[in-house]
């Protein structure tokens, strides 16, 4: 008995974390999946109802707005964050004075909560007293900026705040990648007469493909999950013009008490994340095994 215990001690120590994750991650996801196939309203009901909730979901106008917003946000967020991040990383890699200081400034937004970011940007983008007044005072008297209360433009305010918060993260990823490249490669190319722009465009950026892949995965996954920033900045408004799948999910469950429908929307989000993450984890694991 004692010997058995000693032999299996590592597995016994591993058991709590594996058990907790099995139950609270995988078990709960299965529970949500099951509920999404039932008629659950305010309380869960366990008779199966087929895919009715999913049909209902894809016939909901608000869900389409949420998906459209998510697509707009993801594309812009991804593109702008990557451009700013890569640019800053390359510039910072040119033996810059005060590099550490600049890096600290570029990355501090990642230490703030989305609620704080949202609160700050909500004030900056305030239609009367915010950025509009700043430009008016600077001499642009006809400058107006009402994106926060404009149905068609409000989604872009979320992009502005999101990009501000996350582009430093892309910078950090790329800077780490650039630092891992041997100096010899750059030197050799320069001796062959290649200009710095060519060296970056033709040699270094293509070498960064794994970093592009990583930051793509992380940014897409952040944007699918984004919730706090929207709550703090627009609450999904004006009207429902900036609603997101995450907002749809919580509102449907906790305000409208349509638990089945809410579970269906949660599963759609889960599948979207899984479609990006599973190939990523698979390739990471393979890379590690090759190493």
């Amino acid at each position: 008995m004692f010997k058995w215990l000693e032999k299996n001690l590592p597995k016994i120590v591993l058991a709590p974390s594996v058990g907790l994750i099995s139950w609270f991650v995988y078990g709960f996801i299965l529970w949500t999946l099951y509920i999404s196939f039932t008629k659950s309203k305010i309380l869960p009901r366990y008779e199966l109802w087929g895919v009715e909730q999913y049909i209902k979901l894809w016939h909901t106008h608000k869900w389409y707005i949420a998906i459209e917003n998510l697509l707009i946000f993801t594309v812009l967020f991804l593109t702008i964050c990557t451009i700013i991040g890569v640019l800053l990383a390359i510039f910072l890699d040119q033996k810059i004075r005060a590099e550490g200081f600049l890096r600290t400034i570029y990355l501090y937004p990642m230490a703030l909560s989305f609620i704080v970011t949202g609160t700050a940007w909500k004030w900056i983008l305030n239609p009367t007293l915010g950025i509009q007044k700043l430009f008016n005072d600077l001499g642009f008297e006809n400058f107006t900026f009402d994106w926060l209360v404009n149905r068609d433009m409000a989604i872009y305010t979320i992009v502005i705040a999101g990009v501000w918060q996350s582009s430093g993260f892309v910078m950090a990823l790329f800077l780490a990648g650039l630092r891992s490249i041997e100096d010899e490669i750059v030197k050799a190319a320069k001796i062959d007469g290649a200009s710095l722009v060519v060296v970056y465009w033709k040699i270094i950026i293509p070498m960064m493909r794994p970093v592009f892949f990583t930051s793509f995965v992380i940014l897409v996954h952040i944007s699918i999950k984004s919730y706090d920033l929207i709550v703090a900045l627009t609450q999904g408004g004006p009207g429902i013009s900036t609603t997101f799948p995450s907002l749809f999910m919580t509102q449907t469950a906790f305000h409208k008490s349509q638990v089945g429908l809410s579970a269906a929307s949660a599963m759609m989000m889960f599948m979207a994340v899984a479609a990006v993450i599973i190939p990523y984890l698979y390739s990471e694991l393979r890379r590690e095994n090759v190493r």
């Binding site: 590592p10 991650v25 600290t104 700050a120």
Partner: protein, 300 residues
């Protein structure tokens, strides 16, 4: 002939020197411009919090306050003292502390043990177990929100700080496991083998050999968990309300509550209070925070 080539070489050299200098200036110009862009919201928050409402209406985002006016900070932290409906951050700040400290300790400890087993007591299929745990870093929490709410209800700890401690401890395990596993992988196995031959037990190896050399990764994990849990809104807003809410939820409620006049100075002071702990940690130990961000390249 040779003189003229020499001359043109000099000219060329001179020209490339000037171009280089201009490029250098351009580089610094862009970098400083971006520094202003990133610092701008923090600056606006800070100056706005020290202005009176009259100053806010007269000036713009950039103008400095006439004098440092701490009134909004007092209101944000301790309220106006008129009882009902007077929301202020102090109690919620302590709620967050009571939630963050135990949840960070639990998840870090469990993650360290798990990382230890997965790297130093390897068995068949252990990399699958790691992948199994790692996936938990990425799941959208919406997919576990409904069963979690019910579970907390059944356990009788819904709408309590204890409930949030449990939730954050559990969902932090994948991240802390990732940190410790990646750190312990780089520690030579010979060290462990030698200790095992000397008869050191499973726990002895962990506490006597590994923990003393784990300081950097413990700092990374603690900072990561602290920042994530402090900044969390989704779990806080879903599983607690009223007096047991953490600070981010309270901040959001304060900013959204529409009293007769919107007080932007109080809003900004409140936002600053809510981000001060994580900001201080970042300034003091930014290196470790960045390591947490990039080492796993995982953001919750």
């Amino acid at each position: 002939m040779s003189v003229s080539t020499n001359l043109s070489y000099k000219k060329l050299e001179e020209r490339s020197r000037i171009i280089n200098l201009l490029l250098r200036w351009f580089l610094y110009f862009v970098l400083v411009l971006f520094a202003f862009y990133f610092i701008f919201p923090l600056y606006v928050m800070l100056v706005t919090s020290f202005k009176t409402m009259a100053e806010i209406r007269q000036g713009n985002l950039l103008t400095l306050p006439g004098q440092l006016n701490f009134e909004s900070w007092k209101v944000a932290w301790g309220g106006r003292g008129y009882g009902a409906g007077d929301t202020y951050l102090r109690p919620y700040f302590w709620n967050s502390i009571k939630m963050v400290v135990p949840a960070t300790v639990f998840s870090t400890f469990i993650g360290a043990m798990t990382g230890y087993v997965l790297t130093k007591w390897r068995f068949k299929g252990d990399s699958w177990i790691f992948l199994f745990l790692l996936f938990g870093c990425f799941i959208p929490y919406q997919a576990i929100l409904l069963p979690m709410a019910r579970t907390l209800g059944v356990l009788g700890i819904s709408n309590s700080i204890l409930g949030l401690v449990v939730v954050h401890s559990i969902y932090g395990i994948p991240f802390t496991t990732l940190f410790f596993r990646n750190y312990y992988v780089s520690i030579p196995n010979e060290l462990i083998k030698a200790a095992r031959i000397d008869g050191a037990s499973f726990f002895k190896i962990f506490f006597i050999i590994l923990i003393p050399i784990s300081a950097p990764i413990i700092v990374v994990a603690v900072i990561w968990q602290f920042t994530q849990i402090w900044n969390d809104f989704l779990f806080g807003a879903t599983f607690s309300f009223g007096t047991s809410a953490p600070i981010q939820v309270a901040l959001n409620n304060m900013v959204l509550s529409s009293t007769s006049v919107k007080e932007y100075n109080v809003d900004m002071a409140s936002a600053f209070v809510a981000c001060l702990p994580t900001l201080i940690v970042y300034v003091l130990a930014g290196k470790y925070f960045i390591r947490g961000l990039t080492s796993g390249a995982v953001k919750g």
